[in-house]
Amino acid sequence: MRAVQILVDGFAISSLYGLAAVGFTLIFGVSGVLNLAHGGIMVVAALVGWAAAAEFGFGTYAGTGLGILAGLATAYATYLIVVRPIQRSRAIRPEETEIFVLTGTLLWGIMIQVGMAYLFSDNPVTIRPLVAGVVNILGVRTPANEILIAVIAWSLIGLLWLLVNRTRTGKALLGASMNPRGVTLLGYELTRIYFVAWTIYGLLAGIAGVLLASFLGVSTANTGQLTASAFSIVVLGGLGSVSGSLIAAYVVGYLETMTAYLVAPTLRPIPSLILLVLVIYVRPQGLLGRR
């Protein structure tokens, strides 16, 4: 019984972790950007979604949609206001660009958190479940919303796979992650590719944010934790590796769920952080990393 509970609960949260981390790893793969404002983007989507749905009366679906758009807009803002100016700056030496981007996005993330806390307070908010009710899975009472979240997460990951492997744009994305110079020689404009990558990322982070709000609830105080969990998943899976991130999302999700059930809910994030430290020691490139 306990095992089934862990299997069911771990699956939903892991799928959500996976969805949030895939976009994060994609922009790292394509443009070498580690976006430490990641949690901020998810939180903006969740809070705007909640406010639109509950405060301004748009209803659950329209509110959720607006939340996703807000996440996308924040991702664009992150790219246009913070990342691109740093990447293009002549004052910053090329080998130092990544560290400046890291610092810039970290500070931007804090600005988002403080700004959102000012507008919405730091109380957790929840978006009404997209579907109500519970379903019995092998004796475990599971909210139907949790199942829907897993289905949405996997459908999106599937779509992303199709996009990357079956379309010209996707292949250009893949190419840019392997050899940016080669892609430009083939006549692709890198700026356009980056823009596509940030669009995909913004949508995925926004969707993950609103889904999390309808699943567990989100507050501005979670910003750092959300960035940290995506960061650990991506490092564990191997920076830039989409499939590595997906595997790592499940490792972290199940490790957390098992800790919460079998040890104590308060210790939930600890074992996966220990695992992360071990991976950095033993296999710094991560599970499936190339770099």
């Binding site: 509970q5 609960d9 730091d122 109380n123 929840t126 978006i127 567990l216 609830g217 059930y261």
Partner: protein, 418 residues
């Protein structure tokens, strides 16, 4: 050397303000307004009512001629739920804004940080919402030093008593329940609360099957609810204040079939109904008062006016703050208009005020809860409310109740079904 810089900046700011305030302080000494500092938690569900209710009380007192002809001026501060910010606000209220008393905070950790400053600076201080027993224990143990602090809300021991009182009548008596699980957030106010729960629940006939304390940072309550369900209790008795939205929404979405009762501080205001999208339906909590429940002649007019002004109902801290501003005003009147700290403390000790929560008096020096608000019949007893269809329905005590307890369909009442 950030400390030095900050100190220097502080000195500079102090000097500038001192010069700027010169004409005002001369004016104040001539006896114009009585300033009361009010430190609230503006972004917390339960703490946001503090400053709002204080201003309403001052407006009411001023409209009725003030205190011995002097008007009350409320100076508000936001502590952002931080003890450090609260202590700074307290110091500023005393040294810069020249208040005669401070009302502040619903968080025990914050109040326990302010209390020594109230002692050092000899500044009368009342909390309208913190609960830890340690606040009044300090006054009892070292009266001469700590006598400036008053506890304008129930101590954790009395909150647990109130919860046990209504649980006995409603759940053991009427619904024949026999078992409970205690679920509390890990915080200063819940330590004495849980101790008292574990003592009084068995006494009223509820066996405590499990006692869960969780980190206030917890976001996924699923494992906790599964652990509770595995123990098969008839009821969950909560002690939550810093958290509220997430456990309540997850309890509702996961359709945990066990009633949730106890003390859920955020559920005392209608903000909570909105924040949970109505998932609080069926939740029962202890609170100071509620809309439409005439505990005293002033309760309903206050709630109605507050709701009209701010669009939400006050949390329990709103009622307490409103009453405490009146308590201070009356104490100054009793002291013949004197605002000297020691005279004010003596006058506050003689408090006998019929407020929105009930009849307010403070325990004396010999009681273990020195300067805490008295609990009991004819004084403040609190009420139990249940969220029903977006409204707070008073379900206990019966002479005040305006509705019956009813639960959402996913709740299975074990004992009554047997």
């Amino acid at each position: 050397m950030p400390i030095q810089t900050e100190a220097r900046r502080g000195l500079l700011a102090g000097a500038v303000c001192a010069v700027g305030l010169l004409p005002f302080s001369a004016f104040a000494q001539s006896g114009d307004t009585i300033k009361i500092g009010v430190i609230g938690e503006e972004s917390a569900v339960a703490g946001a009512s503090i400053t709002k209710a204080a201003v309403m009380a001052a407006d009411e007192i001023n409209a009725n001629g003030g205190v011995n002809g002097r008007k009350i001026e409320i100076i508000t501060y936001d502590n952002h739920s931080s003890a450090a910010d609260a202590v700074r606000a307290f110091q500023r209220a005393v040294s810069q804004d020249k208040v005669v008393a401070v009302i502040g905070s619903y968080i025990s950790e914050v109040v326990l940080a302010i209390e020594p400053w109230s002692a050092r600076l000899h500044m009368p201080f009342i909390t309208p919402g913190a609960a830890s027993n340690l606040i009044s224990k300090a006054v009892h143990d070292d009266y001469d030093h700590y006598k400036y602090t008053f506890h304008g809300w129930l101590t954790s021991a009395f909150i647990a008593q109130a919860v046990c009182d209504y649980t006995k009548d409603e759940f053991v008596g009427l619904r024949h329940m026999t078992t409970a699980v205690v679920m509390s957030e890990d915080a200063a106010w819940t330590k004495p609360l849980d101790e008292a729960y574990l003592e009084c629940l068995p006494k009223i006939g509820l066996k405590v099957l499990d006692h869960i304390r969780f980190n206030p940072d917890t976001s996924d309550f699923t494992p906790i609810f599964h652990q509770i369900e595995d123990a098969h209790p008839d009821v969950i008795v909560t002690g939550i204040s810093h958290v509220g939205v997430q456990p309540t929404v997850q309890w509702h979405d996961q359709q945990v079939p066990i009633p949730m009762i106890g003390q859920s501080s955020q559920a005392t205001t209608s903000t909570f109904w909105k924040d949970t999208n109505g998932a609080s339906e069926g939740v029962i909590t202890d609170t100071a008062a509620a809309p439409g429940v005439a505990l005293t002649p002033t309760t309903v007019p206050f709630v109605t006016e507050y709701e009209k002004k701010f669009g939400v109902t006050p949390s329990y801290t709103g009622y307490a703050t409103f009453d405490m501003v009146h308590v201070i005003a009356e104490a100054i009147e009793r002291a013949g208009g004197a605002t000297d700290p020691d005279k004010l403390v003596t006058a506050l000790e003689a408090t006998d005020h019929l407020g929105t929560m009930g009849r307010i008096q403070f325990y004396g020096r010999d009681n273990q809860f020195t300067h805490a608000m008295k609990y009991g019949p004819g004084l403040v007893t609190t009420i139990a409310i249940q969220w029903q269809d977006g409204k707070q329905i008073c379900v206990w005590p019966h002479d005040k109740a305006n509705g019956e307890i009813t639960f959402p369909s996913f709740i299975k009442l074990h004992a009554s079904a047997n």
